[in-house]
Every structure is written in C-alpha cells, then in structure tokens.
Symmetry: C2
Subunit: 343 residues, 2 copies
C-alpha cells in the first residue's frame, strides 16, 4: 500500500509532524528540511490517507448528489455541471440514485451516508414538505427544484409556474385554443408537476380558455415512453388538441414520435413544446421549442450555497442562523424552435 507519513519521516530523518507540516504548507520549516522531506515524499510517492485525515479533521471533502435518474438527460446534463463546479472547489462528488422512489429519497434525507459526506445536493421528486421538515440529519443540504418548504433549507430553482405559464402563452399566441398538457401527476407531492400544471392553467384562464381535464391526463413518469403513450390517448379524443405542452423534453420527444408516426405534421397539424432544453431537442426534427433553465447557473449556485453552509457550520455546531441568501431563483429562457413555429 501507499507510504504513510511515518515512512516518509523515517526516510527523511525527521519527525512525522514535520512531514505533516511540509505537506500542509506550514510556514516555519527550514528550507533545508523542507527539501529533504520533499525528496522523500516524491521518492515514496506519498499520498495522504484521506480516511485518516478526515477522521482527524472531521471533513471528508466529498459531497453527495442525490437525484432520481442519472440517465435522464436533464439530470445527466445537470450532473456534469455540478461535478465541474464541485471539482473546482476541490470536492469529490458521489452519486446517489433514488429512482424517484419515496423510500430511497427518505433514506437520503435520513443521512445514510452522513458520515461520509460533508454536504448534500438533493433533487427530490416524491418526498414532500413534511418529510423534508422532519429531517434530523444535520449534514448541510441544498435542494434543487422548486422550494418545497419555508424552513431553513436552501434551494435553487427556476420559477416553474411562471415558465410554464409563459410557454402556454406562447402556444396561445400562435392562435391555438385547444391546448393539451402532458406531465400532470397524481401524486400530490409531485411538486414540479403541480407547479407546471398551475402555470398552464393560469395561462388558459388569463386567455379565457376553458381547462379541460381530458387534455391534461396524468403520466406515470417523465420518460419518452410516457409521452408517447399519453399522446396516443390525446389523439384518440373526439377533439384532439392543436398544441401540446409537455412538462419535460423527454415527454415531448415521446409525444413527437407518436405524432409523426400518426401522420401528423409538426408544427402544422400539431404544435409541441417541451421543458428542460436537453440536447436531444436541439437535434430532433423538428427541433423542440422548450424552456431552457440555466443549468450551469443552477449547478454553480447550488455548489456555492453548499460551500457556504459547510464552511459556516463549525464541527458540532448548528449552521449559522442566517448564512446568506438561501432561496435562489435561477434564470431560464423560452426558446422557440421548429416544433411550434415553422421557420
């Protein structure tokens, strides 16, 4: 195994602590000694044992990123930014995949890995306000996605409801009056879905259009297959929609596939919009109109907030009662592409 400080010390003919001092850049080390030690360090290819260091320091340098699915493009893209931002700060990121299962999300909250991580960035799907509030684990946490509680939990999110309203308004502005939505959820804790649905309804109402439940059927999850299946149902309606707003791009891509194989022309016969701006939607034919959250901004901000919380909370102490901004609203843009407007 790797050499320890002891080995290096023996080789350099100094004490263990001196080697430690050199490693940690302690000021008062004689140049001569420093050189000797550094030579020994190099010769033995010394690498600090992080377990030991962490045990002593009470920090691990590792943060966890807990999210539903790594293979959903939105999360994959977001993860890359989170990891980039974390690495910049010298952190290592460990991934916790919850599959959106309530049990796993609860485990995350209860701090399965409490002792292994300094902080947690968590993108919940099913757990709700109560469970978040009931959290006992004291590991600093930052939530991704809409704010779900008013407590001291930091979070970073775009204004889902407003974005959804804008998108729906966009569809209305194109002259459509029968506008469907794909992505409603029956689970009352599915916060994001509810917010986007609320934005959709808001826009309809503002335009004096009726809300028709049959045009916004619930989906099991947010994958392409769900979008494809629900789209099929919408097309079977007596009066199918002229436009459909999908609550994420995957649903939209699934819906697009169904529409195209059904012989519809998009956007001529049916306008389609998504949400998330994943790369797929920029290369599909037609390309996808969507809401583009600033993922890099979200990721960077989340990591920064977490950093602040971690630095702020001394070992054993609670986090400072007020450690700066805790609710960050991230930017987003509505991007119009071929799926709603022929260029």
């Amino acid at each position: 195994m790797g050499a320890s400080l002891k080995d290096v010390a023996a080789l350099a003919g100094v004490s263990v602590k001196t080697v430690s001092n050199v490693v940690n850049g302690y000021t008062y080390v004689a140049p001569h000694t420093r050189e000797k030690v550094e030579q020994a360090l190099a010769e033995l290819e010394y690498r600090p044992n992080l377990s030991a260091r962490n045990l002593r320091r009470g920090r691990t340098g590792v943060i966890a990123l807990a999210l539903p699915e790594l293979d959903a493009p939105y999360f994959a893209e977001l993860s890359r930014f989170v990891i980039d931002a974390a690495v910049e700060r010298g952190w290592t990121v460990l991934i916790d995949q919850t599959d959106g299962l309530a049990d796993r999300e609860r485990e995350v909250l209860q701090g399965i890995r409490e002792q292994l991580i300094d902080g947690l960035i968590f993108s919940p799907i099913t757990v709700g306000r109560e469970e978040l509030a009931a959290r006992t684990d004291s590991t600093p946490m930052v939530l991704l996605g809409e704010r779900i509680m008013d407590g001291p939990t930091h979070h970073v999110a775009i204004d889902n409801q407003r974005a959804a309203r804008e998108m729906t308004e966009h569809l209305i502005s194109l002259g459509h009056t029968r506008i469907g939505a794909i992505g409603a959820q029956e689970n009352p804790s599915a916060n994001t879905a509810h917010l986007r649905l609320a934005g959709y309804r808001q826009a309809l109402e503002a335009a004096g259009l009726p809300y028709d439940e049959r045009l916004a059927p619930p989906t099991a999850s947010y994958h392409r297959a769900d979008g494809a299946a629900v789209m099929r149902r919408l097309l079977e309606l007596d009066e199918p929609p002229q436009a459909v707003f999908c609550f994420n791009d995957l649903l939209a891509l699934g819906a697009l596939r169904t529409a195209l194989t059904s012989g519809l022309r998009v956007p001529d016969d049916l306008a389609l919009a998504g949400f998330d701006d994943i790369e797929d939607g920029r290369y599909s034919t037609p390309t996808l109109t969507t809401i583009s959250p600033d993922k890099a901004h979200i990721a960077r901000t989340a990591v920064e907030l977490l950093d602040a919380r971690i630095s702020g909370s001394g070992r054993g102490g609670r986090p400072a009662e007020d450690d700066g901004q805790r609710e960050v609203e991230a930017d987003y843009r509505l991007i119009v592409r071929e799926s709603t407007v022929r260029p």
Copy 2:
C-alpha cells in the same frame, strides 16, 4: 455531531468494544446485553463514522467510476447500471469526469483519489497502452471498452471491430455500394474509433468495395454537432454516400438532422446507422438502426470483476497473480430500425 461508540457505550453501561460487536453482528453477545445496547444505539441515533471505520479496516466502501462525460447518453445509461450494480454490493460510487482529456485520464491512472477508493472502473478515451502499462497505483482497476493492453488489467467490452463489420455488412446487404463512415479519429490512441473503422474497412474489403478516405473523414469528438458537421461535408462531395455508418448514436442523430434538413429522405435517399443504442435513437424519426451493447451486462460484469479483485488483493499484498477471468467479452445485438430499412 453524531454519537460515537463511546457515547453509546456509556449510555448502555458496557465497553466500547461490546457496542462495536453488536453493531457488527458479532455472535457472542448475551441477548440481554444486545438489547440494552440496541436501545442505546437507537436512542442516540448512532451512525458509524465511516472515516474511522475505513481507516481501521483499510477499506472505504467507495469505488470510482471514471468516464469521459456524464452527459453523453451512452455513459449516462451505463453509469446508472454501474451504480445500481455497485449499490447492490453495498458500495458507493463516486464519479470522475475526464472530459476525455489526456491529462485528466492520466491523473485517474496515477490515483488522485487512491486513498479514498477501493477500486476503479475506468473508461479511457485518449490514454494508450503505454500509459496504462506505466500505471503505478495499485488500486484495483477494471477497464471499460476494448482491451488496450495485454497486461494484468481486467476489462469488459464488446468486440467493437466485429460489431462494426456486421453493421457495415448490413448496409452492404441493402445494396449500398458507397458507404460512408463518421467517427474516425486522428489521435492514434483513440482505440475504439480505430477498431470500428477497422471493422468497417474489413466489411468493405470482404465485399470487394473500395475504401475511400473522403467517405470517412475524422471527427473532433463524438457529439451530435460533430455528426451534423461531418454529414454536411459528406453531402458536399461530388458523389455523396448512399449510406453512412456513424460510430455512435450521437453522431448518427447529428447526421440525421443534417440529412433531413437537407431535404433527404431517410432511409430512402440515405441510410443511416449508429452504435450504442441510446434511448434517443428509439424515439427519433426515423428510429435508428444501431449496435446495442448489453449495458447492464457490461456494468454488472465490471462491478463483479472489480469486487473479485478487491476481495482478492489483501491489504498490502499484490492482487493474486491469477484471480479468474480478466477479459470479458460482452454481448451485443444489431438492431435494425427505420433509418436503414423502411418498415
């Protein structure tokens, strides 16, 4: 912070070691004692300090997954399987994103995180045989992707060359004689690219078709944008190809976009094939003919191999000279979809 064994021991009125024994399910603990201790454990919400445990045991329970890009769908999908398989074995997975940069890949090999992880699953892009052979870090490693050296490095991969040949044969069997390829790489260490190109050329040769370099221009990387750009160049040729084999699905999706916007019908005017079977290709229009590696199998096997190596190599000892199979060839299937054959 969390309670330690000491606190629990004090509360339960036993020695620290007895608590440790209870926690670790040691057999010889009197039922009465066990109960007392368990009560104390529950009351204090004890959670073992992993740093300390790892320091003592010499294991961390963490493995690293080093790959180029988390947001490339193939890797995202693969990661999900790797994480699933690792979690099943009680491991936590930490992600190392190399961006395919030689420096970062080298760092991975040199064991930046050596002391934090028990093992490493590595999917290299640029580092070659020499660098892999020169590795000094003794952390058990399993490579993903084609075998790059004959040394003691375990690896899991499909037969890239054979798969590429089969795909090219498929295109030939459709009657195409001018078949392009997208994904060749100039970097001589880009092993996968070379293998797929070799398979492509093999098939051409076997069919008595000439290899035309202009039909297989190099790409900078393997993203949709590269596919789109190279496709544009191919279409500008005096004699554009009738079919194009892209070395991954992203390239194919990019190429598809270019083809469709250029007014070509796929597959009628141009047949397109990819490689990887990412989900996008199952929902694009047309759906994508591709090579489908058994990702779950690859992931599971990699984790199993790693497990064996980790268990096999005692602390401080070298891994056993022969610890079972080390070169695993994973399954794959050629999936014909709409992009090459109209249904």
